[in-house]
Symmetry: C2
Subunit: 550 residues, 2 copies
């Protein structure tokens, strides 16, 4: 009889245990969990704080009892695993209720110990008003603080969990200040996309402080219990402070047992989830993964990979040849009425990894414009000079997750922009367009690569000075509503009749065309380029420019 011990009873661990049982009815499977809950919906915690998920029980997908009856798992909560004896193949756990040690032998050990919220070494973070959100009891505490009348919240960190908690707090009526050290919110996406999210936060009366370090939590100078002190010296009164500056792999156990860890403290595993000890597997937030695009090792603390790695580990323990794929980092977050999603590395990360790439920005409708309710999908596609898809990000009110899922699938398949152009996606007016946003991104990328579309971007603006003609091809009405200084206006519908005027205005200088989205300036660019102008079209139009340079 195979003895399997699983440490950590949530996403990765319990997925491994459940799959193991399905494949091996006779194994002895013990799951040891430090906390009081297993199989809980970590990802639902912010929504429980915010009240969309009113009942705490809804977060508990399983209990030890239900896991026993349905999967014959021996699940022990309040059991903190303290050490692994790799030679003797035992783990020692502290039974926190009875305060005794329990020693369990294993043939196979699965480490699914997750991650711990990062708590920077700054003064005052041990105050009771400063909280993190990782477990059900964490949510309980936050709910209790809200119930007790908290009015002012400071959220430190504008990542996924930070943003979800901001929304939860606003939903409960709190004044919220969001503090982020990076120059943008949501560092998992590129700046011009994040700007749209920031606007949505402000629209919902969140006081957003980006590019602002946070220094300490101190005694109050108001009638709220603490002051959050920022690096710029400003003080924010707060009843509750949520620390959401990221997580780090929870691998003290693995480290003490001498398993190979990465620089960043993540457990190093093979594609079948095995650690440097062939009897020990590791999964989830605790492990190092390989970025599918850049090949760079890192950590991707997300539930999908954790769940699937758990399943792979179970198969691997039973000798089934199943491997996990490198990670794309596909992720999505709802921020009030907006959705932001990403697959693959950002342009920033590609640049850091030295991967040469192009980008195109576009703003197509979530579905056919003539059918009511279409909303813009702000989309950026990244691809190599050879046309291979590298990643994408999207922000909008509708249809965002769909486009990113399609591109995530294309990315996994190693597709090119030609393939995107030819994708055959489901179209009827309520759902998409005959030329879906993903096709459209493919078309634009093809045009970039074969020179049909020559693009310029916001960064070029700095270099311009007087040595180019900025040609705004929007309608006069649009131009009156605001335009770039010094730009010359010819509506694209009148361009062919005014080529001489443009030539005169350009006076030999290159022409840099722009419009609202990049579509009309593309049409104009084609006219100009074929009439001998040195022209280029503003990628993503003023919508992207204004997001990038507010």
């Amino acid at each position: 009889m195979r003895r399997v011990v699983v440490v950590g009873g949530v996403a990765g661990g319990m997925s491994a245990a459940a799959r193991l049982r399905r494949l091996d009815e006779s194994a002895q499977i013990v799951v040891l969990e430090r906390g009081g809950e297993v199989s809980f919906a970590n990802c639902g915690l912010p929504y429980h704080v915010g009240g969309e998920i009113p009942h705490r029980d809804a977060l508990l997908l399983h209990t030890p009892d239900s896991l026993e009856s349905s999967l014959d798992l021996d699940v022990r909560v309040h059991h903190d695993v303290r050490s692994i004896d790799r030679e003797g193949r035992t783990v020692t756990a502290r039974d926190l209720v009875h305060d005794v040690d329990v020693v369990l032998p294993y043939d196979a050990l699965v480490l699914a110990t997750g991650a711990d919220p990062i708590v920077p070494p700054l003064p005052g973070l041990d105050r009771p008003q400063v909280r993190t959100l990782r477990t059900v009891p964490d949510a309980d505490v936050l709910r209790a603080m809200l119930a007790a009348g908290a009015q002012k919240a400071v959220v430190i960190g504008a990542g996924f969990i930070g943003l979800e908690t901001v929304e939860a707090f606003r939903r409960r009526g709190l004044d919220v200040t969001l503090v982020e050290m990076a120059p943008q919110v949501l560092p998992a996406i590129d700046a011009e996309m994040a700007a749209l999210v920031e606007a949505e936060l402000r629209l919902h009366h969140v006081d957003v402080r980006v590019g602002t370090g946070f220094a300490a939590v101190e005694d109050s100078t108001t009638d709220h219990p603490v002051d959050v002190v920022l690096a710029d010296g400003s003080r924010l009164a707060a009843d509750v402070v949520l620390l959401g500056v990221g997580v780090k792999p929870s691998t003290a156990l693995a480290r003490d047992a001498g398993l190979e860890l990465s620089d960043r403290g993540a457990v190093v595993v093979t594609a079948d989830q095995r650690t440097s000890d062939p009897s020990i597997w590791a999964v989830g937030d605790a492990i190092q993964v390989i970025d599918a695009v850049t090949g760079v090792p890192g950590v991707v603390p997300l539930a999908g990979p954790a769940n699937r790695q758990g399943r792979t580990a179970a198969d691997s323990i039973l000798g089934r040849a199943r491997t996990s794929q490198p990670v794309l980092g596909t992720a999505v977050v709802k921020v009030f009425g907006l959705t932001a999603a990403v697959t693959g590395p950002t342009s920033r990360r590609l640049t850091a990894a030295g991967v040469e790439h192009h980008v195109v920005h576009l703003h197509p409708g979530s579905h056919a414009g003539y059918y009511p309710g279409a909303k813009p999908v702000h989309l950026v596609l990244l691809f190599t000079p050879e046309g291979r898809v590298l990643g994408a990000q999207a922000v909008g009110k509708d249809g965002v997750d769909k486009r990113i899922d399609v591109i995530a699938t294309a990315l996994r398949a190693g597709m090119t922009v030609d393939d995107l152009a030819e994708l055959e996606l489901a179209y009827a007016p309520p759902f998409g367009s005959a030329k879906d946003p993903v096709n459209m991104a493919g078309f634009m990328a093809q045009n970039i690569l074969d020179g049909t579309l020559r693009a310029w971007g916001p960064d070029d603006l700095d270099g311009f000075g007087d040595d180019v003609l900025l040609l705004d091809v929007r309608s006069e009405v649009e131009v009156e509503g605001g335009h770039l200084p010094g730009s010359y206006n010819v509506p694209h519908t009148e361009l062919r009749d005014h080529l001489d005027d443009v030539r005169q205005a350009a006076a030999g200088r290159p022409v840099r065309v722009l419009c609202a989205s990049g579509f009309r300036s593309y049409l104009a660019h084609r006219v100009l380029a074929q009439n001998g102008f040195d022209s280029a079209s503003l990628d993503g139009g003023l919508m992207t420019l204004r997001a990038q340079r507010p």
Copy 2:
């Protein structure tokens, strides 16, 4: 200067013309359109009839004027092309307004003549109450009939356009009877999926008559203007009769010019959209396409392919090496509150084409069950014995188009079910699950292929008689609410304690397990199989069984 003539000024034709202009500023591009409108949203017509799109103008994406000013296209409406002189490279069009012939020379000719509604040779179809829906004037007429007080509608044909028109009529308050000769609605999807659509139609008080031929339209026996007579002799009083029994390629022009046509009258083209005459290209509903999965030639009258083929034709005319992909037939339709979508062939078509395949049915939530608003996604995945994805269909209230688009992308990439299992899709509670429905379908398919999951289906039920034990592993409460005759109940949570009872009840017979969705019966099957039983689990559970055998 290159002279290009395009026949047909809507999806495929105008896409070709627009792309041509962008690539070749100097070409002379003439678009000839028989009707009075170009670039109109065919796909929006039912929604204009139904009133969701109240303004007719919204359907007109362009006018000849706007195409002239923006793309320098010479667009001539009310020009019916009557013949092609392939040797002399001219087309002759009838100017329907001035009633004169116009002869136009071409270097390249694009045929984008679309398709015509099929009108079966049955008596009475020439009555004014009998309509088809293909053009803006068609919609005008239907709206006029509704405005004039039509109360009773009969829709013949339960395909995409038939169903959309049913909804439009119901929305406008008409009594609607839907008549379909096939034994199911929506023949583009498999019967058990279509049953869900049929239920939605009935829920919205549509009188659905499937498996019923339609014989004639006759003089009225009521105070509504006509009677629709069905093959079974029944008579349906009607103010308006909508014929939606499909379309056929509109290729009289191509045929008369001696271009190669398929058996079904579609223009045969190469991958770069060239016809048997190297100076003539053809795109859209008029052409034959190759099914990407079965390799079988056919027609796929959908807007996405038409638009993309138009673009490919333009590139090909200009000598750019671009080819269209074989067609998957990805399609989607909204039917009241439900969405139905498909990519790739149905199981029925695969069987007809002799393609061996497996199916799995599942009913996962559109997003995490603990977050409010999740709705079941009824999903069927089709795959080869080697694991290659062949197609999928989905029906549900939310998240249906997304899953089909993901699988359409996987299908295009030639992915396997292992790849689906490892897709990394965007997950946060409002959008999906850590194990997305597509992953889940991949897991199940893996289990089928490696024998972990042995499935039985509704069709097996007939052969069963007393020679198997039907084991229902739902809870007692669920069983009390309705169960299969003769089934034996042991809740899956109690199975391990009642193996002896099951053994006794089985008395050596195979055990066929079932539950509501197939998940619990899979768990039970794993227990039974590993305890020596000959067992199998009902694919898709009672939900699929009841859909298949109402």
